[in-house]
């Protein structure tokens, strides 16, 4: 049987002023009908270029060679008109970021119906019937209503379902999915993955699924190919990849994601040193050798071939037999300073009744008063010195606002923030120099938080001078020390941020935050813009620095496993209120708040055999301008018990050890409900 997609020796080069970037090198893969093939790799490794090459939509400065056959037809030689007939009809594509891939000025119906009109002849009513049918299949609530909407009126999850419906409308034989759930909240992602999983079984199409998230790949793919620096370095059925990774890079990718249950108290995270080489100057021999622990002279001498390691399993590594023998546990590179002083009875940070409301602009006529947006609505928490508080929740729940309030960047509506004895509920302009020094921040995106016109040494000297940390003559020495502490060396001193990779920039941002000897560092999604292989290293480093310098952290993230790994205590936030707060181990074992439970079950687990109990939240996070009455979560809660949830705010139930759950369901009942279904982690 001819495979649906057959790629042989594909090479793609981008020509630029910096030379020729070899985006894809000698890549061969085939996908059969009904099969889902996962293409995995970090950003810049060539995955999306493969997708664009299949669609014959490469930018003009790109050149490709090799063979791409679709059901036996040579796409590379296909004339424009034939390609047009295939696109959207027999081959469809779904991309990341649905918002920008839908046309903002056309209605959803227009954008869907034109796909049918471009390829088949149907009456308007037949076309409409098929569209409604497909919208039902992607579980779109109220499809009739949706048809008349514009893209910006739909939420991200709904937009992505529209894009998926658009791709599947004509039952294509091949669908390319390029990171279709990246950028969506985990709860939304889980729902979209459910739909994809059902539809791929039903439609029996071939799918090329591109992702950097191994959890998602494990969930949805039959076979997996791992890409590194433009090459396929390992390929195997999904179970084999996870059970017997045969390339050190694959192993690294699998291990550097914090597994469920991993805590900093047990071990450091596995990390891959270094960075992906620039595609314009690839190293001799194996492209991964400079980052590989197993590398020896033979690795750099000759370019390794893709060798067959088992049935249907091949790897591009001369050490493939010994890869799995790598020790699984890793320890911190530097010994951690003695355990945190347990006499930290005294809290560093006390937050009581914190409210942050954003006023909406009045109607011009001033007739109707609009409600305030309650971004943070009565939040209490404490943080002892040198400890870490993790804050999790879906986007729009108020996590980042809490960070901004602590830093004094957003005004407090009401409530108390006490930080080592002084009042921190005031804006940054009215804080004393000491207060500024005590609290520093690390932001999500180091590209925009580092001044592009300052060298690294200028960036790091700023807090040293501002807070008079060291005398002028020791400044340089201190800066080098700081760089070393984030695993960079003095060669970085005179570089500018644009010359650094994302991970390196974030290290500098962390060094800057620690430069002023703060007592608390607030990290707002510090690793979510980084590649997975770099995330682990940055997380390790953050943790080491925290312990050496005896600093407390507020760690805000949407990734539950990451928060679980690094935090001593966790606060789960929904619509501006805390649902559950307590010691990390307590939060992650029953009884838990139903929202926490749903968040946990939504995380894709990087194990194809994982038995997960799917708890899916319906709908989207409601608007904070008009939050539900009673328990904010009742509109989506799978364990809602009745009218009381709608009318009364849930009480704080003490589950022991300072673990508080804000829910109407008695704790014993929750425990029973959740022990039944939860896999003990």
């Amino acid at each position: 049987m001819t495979p649906v997609l057959d790629i042989q020796n594909l090479n793609v080069n981008y020509h630029s002023s910096r030379g020729i970037a070899r985006a894809v090198r000698d890549l061969s893969l085939t996908i059969e009908g009904g099969e889902t093939y996962g293409l995995v790799g970090e950003s810049g490794c060539g995955k999306s270029t493969v997708a664009l090459s299949i669609m014959r939509y490469l930018p003009r400065q790109a050149q490709d060679s090799g063979g791409i056959r679709f059901q036996g037809r040579d796409l590379m030689q296909a004339p424009a008109e034939e390609l047009r007939h295939l696109r959207g009809n027999r081959i469809a594509i779904v991309y990341q970021d649905p918002q920008s891939s839908l046309n903002p000025v056309l209605t959803i119906e227009r954008q869907l119906s034109e796909v049918i009109a471009a390829h088949e002849e149907h009456s308007a009513s037949e076309s409409r019937r098929r569209i409604l049918d497909m919208l039902e299949r992607v579980r779109m609530p109220d499809p009739q209503y949706i048809l008349g909407r514009y893209p910006h009126q739909l939420s991200g999850g709904m937009q992505q379902r529209i894009v998926i419906a658009m791709a599947l409308l004509l039952r294509p034989d091949l669908v390319i999915m390029d990171e279709p759930t990246t950028g969506l909240d985990v709860t939304i992602e889980a729902g979209v993955l459910d739909i994809l999983d059902d539809l791929r079984r039903e439609f029996k199409m071939a799918i090329l699924y591109i992702s950097h998230n191994l959890g998602v790949i494990a969930r949805i793919c039959d076979r997996v190919g791992i890409m590194y620096a433009g090459e396929l370095i390992e390929q195997a059925p999904v179970n084999d990849i996870f059970a017997h990774p045969s390339h050190p890079y694959t192993l690294g990718l699998l291990r550097c994601v914090p597994r469920q249950g991993l805590r900093y108290t047990n071990e450091a995270l596995y990390s891959i040193p270094g960075r992906v080489p620039p595609l314009t100057a690839l190293p001799q021999g194996c492209a991964f050798a400079p980052r590989c622990v197993l590398a020896e002279s033979a690795c750099t001498a000759a370019h390794p071939r893709l060798e067959s390691t088992a049935q249907d399993h091949s790897a591009r590594c001369i050490h493939w037999e010994t890869v799995v023998e790598q020790p699984e546990r890793v320890t911190f590179t530097r010994p951690l300073s003695s355990q945190t002083d347990q006499n930290s009875e005294k809290n560093l940070l006390n937050v009581r009744g914190l409210k942050v409301y954003f006023m909406q602009a009045l109607d011009v006529l001033g007739i109707r008063k609009r409600p305030n947006i309650k971004v943070v609505d009565g939040v209490d928490f404490d943080l002892p010195a040198q400890r870490t508080l993790g804050v999790v929740g879906e986007s729009g729940c108020g996590k980042s606002t809490i960070a901004k309030v602590l830093a004094g960047l957003t005004p407090v509506t009401s409530g108390k923030i006490e930080f080592s004895g002084s009042d921190f509920a005031k804006p940054i302009e009215s804080r004393s120099s000491d207060s500024l020094q005590q609290l520093q921040m690390v932001f999500q995106n180091p590209d925009s938080s580092l001044n592009p016109r300052h060298t690294i040494s200028q960036t790091l000297s700023r807090p040293l001078r501002r807070f008079k940390i060291v005398p002028q003559d020791q400044e340089n020495e201190t800066i080098i020390g700081l760089l070393r502490s984030v695993n960079l060396d003095e060669s970085y001193l005179d570089r500018y941020p644009s010359q650094l990779s994302g991970g390196e920039k974030q290290r500098v941002a962390i060094a800057r935050a620690f430069a002023g000897n703060p007592e608390l560092v607030v990290c707002d999604e510090p690793i979510s813009s980084l590649d997975v292989s770099v995330q682990a290293a940055v997380l390790n480093l953050l943790h080491e620095l925290q312990h050496q310098r005896k600093v407390a952290l507020v760690f805000i993230a949407h990734d539950l496993n990451v928060v679980r790994y690094i935090s001593d205590e966790v606060a789960v936030i929904y619509l501006g209120r805390i649902c559950e707060i307590g010691p990390t181990d307590r939060i992650f074992s029953p009884p838990s708040h139903p929202y926490t439970e749903a968040l946990m079950s939504a995380i894709p687990v990087a194990d194809p055999n994982a038995q997960i109990n799917p708890i899916r939240l319906s709908g989207n996070v409601p608007s904070p301008a008009n939050p539900p009455t009673g328990c904010h979560f009742h509109t989506r809660c799978p364990r809602k018990i009745g009218a009381i949830c709608e009318t009364h705010e849930p009480p704080a139930q003490e589950a022991g050890d300072n673990h508080k759950i804000f829910c109407h369901i008695p704790l014993d009942e929750l425990r029973v409900l959740q022990t039944d279904v939860m896999v003990k982690m």
């Binding site: 959207g88 991309y95 891939s101 046309n103 000025v105 796909v115 514009y150 009126q153 011009v364």
Partner: protein
């Protein structure tokens, strides 16, 4: 949509009110003594004081502002010091002349610049783009009087096709009779803007063609023409159309040099004369008219923008 327009108009009114205070305030600060302007330097101080009293210049400031505003709104714009005649009919006639000229200029500008901009954007960095970009840069850098003179030399002196003198000799404008006189000033005004709008359109088109939704449209298998007409143009023309609308005010009230060059009786030259001769009521009126034009065309631009862009309309 209606609420959107209504909101815009309320904002418009508030802006106008604020600006009227500013304009009134400015005419107070100007070192001009109205009685002196009217009666001349040879007048006695007693006569000037009497006139000032009669004209109400000794009343308190807020009262004078309110009186002025009420009269202005009811259409009584006072008499010109310089001409000694009521301002309102004069300005209205000039306003009509200027509006017709501006409309004609826009009729020339819009199709040409939108078309050229779209073509340049579609053929980015290839010869049509290079030619159009070079041409638009040229028209932008040529001052309007140079363009006007060149046109006069070519079309009036050499070819003897069109008149160089566009004066209406005090008559009301009549398109059937005067259309030949409008062509050269309109083309000159168009020349100044065509290059600018072409460039805006080009950039907007390039941006849209690079956007993910155009990629979606192409990879849906839509015919190229559908991709351009349905998906690209609707988005790419939003910005240039909004800009064209805001330029209308300038075309009506700002063509001082072109009006003088062709002797065309428009608003611009009337206002320039007023400023030169300390003609306070005329200055205030001209400022109010200009401001109204600008604010009004901005509102039209906003409404058009909202109509073209559902993201604005529904937010």
């Amino acid at each position: 949509m209606l609420r959107f327009i209504l909101r815009r108009f309320v904002t418009l009114l508030i802006t106008m009110l604020a600006l009227s205070i500013l304009i009134f305030g400015l005419s107070e600060v100007l070192p001009i003594e109205p009685a002196l302007v009217i009666l001349g330097r040879e007048s006695t101080p007693e006569a000037r004081a009497a006139l000032s009293e009669e004209m109400g210049f000794n009343r308190p400031l807020p009262e004078r502002y309110v009186n002025w505003l009420v009269r202005f709104i009811s259409g009584d714009w006072g008499d010109s010091y310089r001409l000694g005649a009521p301002i309102q009919p004069l300005v209205m006639r000039r306003l009509l002349n200027s509006t017709i000229l501006a409309a004609l200029a826009l009729l020339i500008i819009s199709p040409i610049s939108l078309f050229l901009g779209v073509i340049a954007g579609l053929y980015r960095a290839r010869w049509p783009d290079r030619a159009i970009s070079a041409g638009s840069l040229l028209t932008i850098s040529l001052p309007d009087f140079v363009v006007g003179l060149l046109l006069i030399i070519i079309f009036s002196w050499w070819l003897k096709l069109l008149p160089a003198d566009s004066s209406l000799r005090g008559a009301d404008i009549d398109l059937a009779q005067h259309w030949r006189k409008l062509i050269l000033p309109a083309v000159t005004a168009a020349f100044v803007l065509v290059g600018y709008i072409t460039r805006v359109t080009r950039v907007s088109m390039i941006e849209v063609m690079d956007s993910p939704y155009i990629r979606t449209a192409i990879l849906k298998g839509l015919p190229y023409r559908t991709v351009i007409i349905r998906h690209a143009l609707r988005n790419a023309l939003i910005a240039p159309i909004a800009i064209i609308t805001t330029q209308f005010a300038w075309l009506v009230g700002g063509l001082i040099i072109i009006e003088q060059l062709f002797n065309y009786p428009g608003l611009g030259s009337l206002f320039a004369d007023a400023a030169r001769s300390n003609d306070l009521p005329m200055i205030a009126t001209s400022s109010m008219i200009t401001v109204s034009l600008i604010v009004f065309s901005q509102v039209i631009a906003d409404v058009l923008y909202g109509l073209l862009n559902p993201r604005i309309r529904f937010s």
